[in-house]
Amino acid sequence: MSMIELRRVTKDYDGRRVINDVSLKTESGERVVLFGPSGCGKSTVLALIAGLVIPDSGEILINEEVVATTKGNLREPDQRGIGMVFQDLALWPHMTVAENIEFGLRAKHVPPNKRKERVREMIDLVGLGDYLNAKPAELSGGQQQRVALARTLALAPPVVLMDEPLSTLDEALNLQLREEILRLHSDLGFTLVYVTHNREEAQQLGTRIIYLRHGRIEGS
């Protein structure tokens, strides 16, 4: 069963075509890497899947249900079962690590005791037990990455999108976190769509690599 499907999607920004007739399909539990140079439209594909951007033509399906057409979102971002790790991580600076992870659970009206339990589970999963009450600014780059992962996975989304989350880290930490992402994927079984321009990262993380150039798929 296909988890994510893009059917002949295009997107223009200020008269410039950034996504040009892109069609792609991912299977449930697959690890797909979108690979290509800067400005080729990789992040826009993620934003389209997440529902943060509306396609100018074509349609987007999640779990075989049409979620977006040119008319707009048929399912809003929060109703798509998607988690996303942003390039800048997007950790809320005024909240503690626990509050960052808990926020989505609150939004979904999970009862307080269950929320606490889930936050604990997530913290243990990414190995940040001592930093529950720390603010993001007090953490190292690697620890911040782990918080972003924990926040994304707290709602157990069937699809996780990652937009170059390791691009700012040094090589050793980058390698370590790749292993961690693979471990989390094998433990939790989500579908992963990962964006990068780093060939090594793409080869290690993807079971399938899709090459994007000038907003078009050039091969996979």
Partner: protein, 528 residues
Amino acid sequence: MQKRLTLIAAAVLLVVIGLLPVLMMVANSFVVDGVFSVAAYRALLASGKQQWVLMGHSLSLSLGVAFFATTVGVPLGLLLGKTDLPFRRTFTILLAVPLLIPPYVIAVAWFAVIGAGGWITRLLPAISHHLSWAFFGLYGCIAVLFTAFVPIVILLTIAYLGAVNPRLEAAGRLVSGWPGVLRRITLPLIAPAIVFAAVLVFLLTLGEVGVPTYLRYSVYPVETLTQFAAFYDFSAATAAAIPLLIVTLAMLTLEYGLLHKQVSELANVTFGVSRAQIELGRWKFPLLAVVLIWALITVALPLAALVAEAPSLTAYAEAFSRASDSILRSLVFAVIGASLLTVLGFFWGYIVHDRTLPFWRGVDALALFLFTLPGTVIGIGLISLWNTPVTNLVYRTPAIIILGYLAQYAVLPTRMTSGILERIPPSLERAARLCGADWFMTLRHIVAPLAIRGLIAVWIVSYVFCLRDLGISMVVYPPGSDTLPVRILTLMANGAPTLLAALCVILVAITLLPLAAAALWLRRKSPL
């Protein structure tokens, strides 16, 4: 959908509060005794030379103030925003003080310095007659309004200097000294912002009524007010307001068409990047002395003279006994106005920042237009719209004053909020949406806490402008609901100087004290 509907509702509210009164005023100017007529315009044109003379006075005054404010404000802005001048932050705050004080209070303060019985008259009696002659008239009006509005040019120059990409200047520095870089790179880059500041000062001067009334210089907006207040000729008042509307629209169209895009682009591209600083070297202390003397003359001297004019507690006791009701009303109206402006302005600012609604530019343009429109014109527009049997609940209560505040000062929270939101990375909001939070939850838990310092500043600026408002309050205040500025203006004509000075000091105090308290509180909070 929740977000879209809320933002559309906020935009519609701005149209109802601000644009509809102006349109109604224009429509009403063509109605006499319930039928279509151009009689009011015929009468306006028949009044012939008198109207042109008044408009000439207004334009001369506005041009004079805009010219001097720009000529002095830009170099001061450069000194404070671009150099290593000692105490530049303190001077920036000090030189911004006149902007917080109503211009008519500055006029009263200057009268205490150079008017009959003033400090200079006592020190140099030989020139007192000439000074007094110059003070009451065009030159006095230019001097007072110039000191009142020059902070606009200084602050905008500083803000836009901070927006210049430092790499462009660094590239210039490799081939030229700072004077060349300033002349050929920095100033041309911020030229649109300087012209915008000049246009703003021009339009604010054009709508000013308090200072020309006090200094007995006949200007066009006072004519509009006279038609309304003295003769209660509403058609004539609305017709008389139309030329001001046309001048304002023409200036703004010019600014918007030619410059606005460049100003916005400049602001959007590079705000927040650390800037290159000019080292003044041996000029540091001479220039420090110049700025210090400037601050002493334009800020400290008039304020000190004002306080000295009402030196005893008896003066303040009398002021309170004569105007405690107006003081209280002013405070309450300003608090309500500022709170509503902060809430509504948040959504107007969000529209401008978000740019997803097709009419976002319209919201920004309308807010700016209303700000530059003379308060008397907005006031007459409000009466045109709300003075009907069905809407008496608004017209006959202070609600009409609050509506006036919302219309006239909408641009302040709109532009400030838009700037604040610009500094919050969009991914923070997106992450919340993907976590399942609806738009209101995202605003409450993510955007508002991150923007809180800025929103407090929005409230304070709105409070200051509502508190000092004269143009709207003077036209629309219901019987028995006059504000402190209106009471001061009334007393300007026939009140004792001591009482007048005491009321002005009270107005300055209730403006500055909350500001100082908030500044201290904000300093203790962690930055965004």
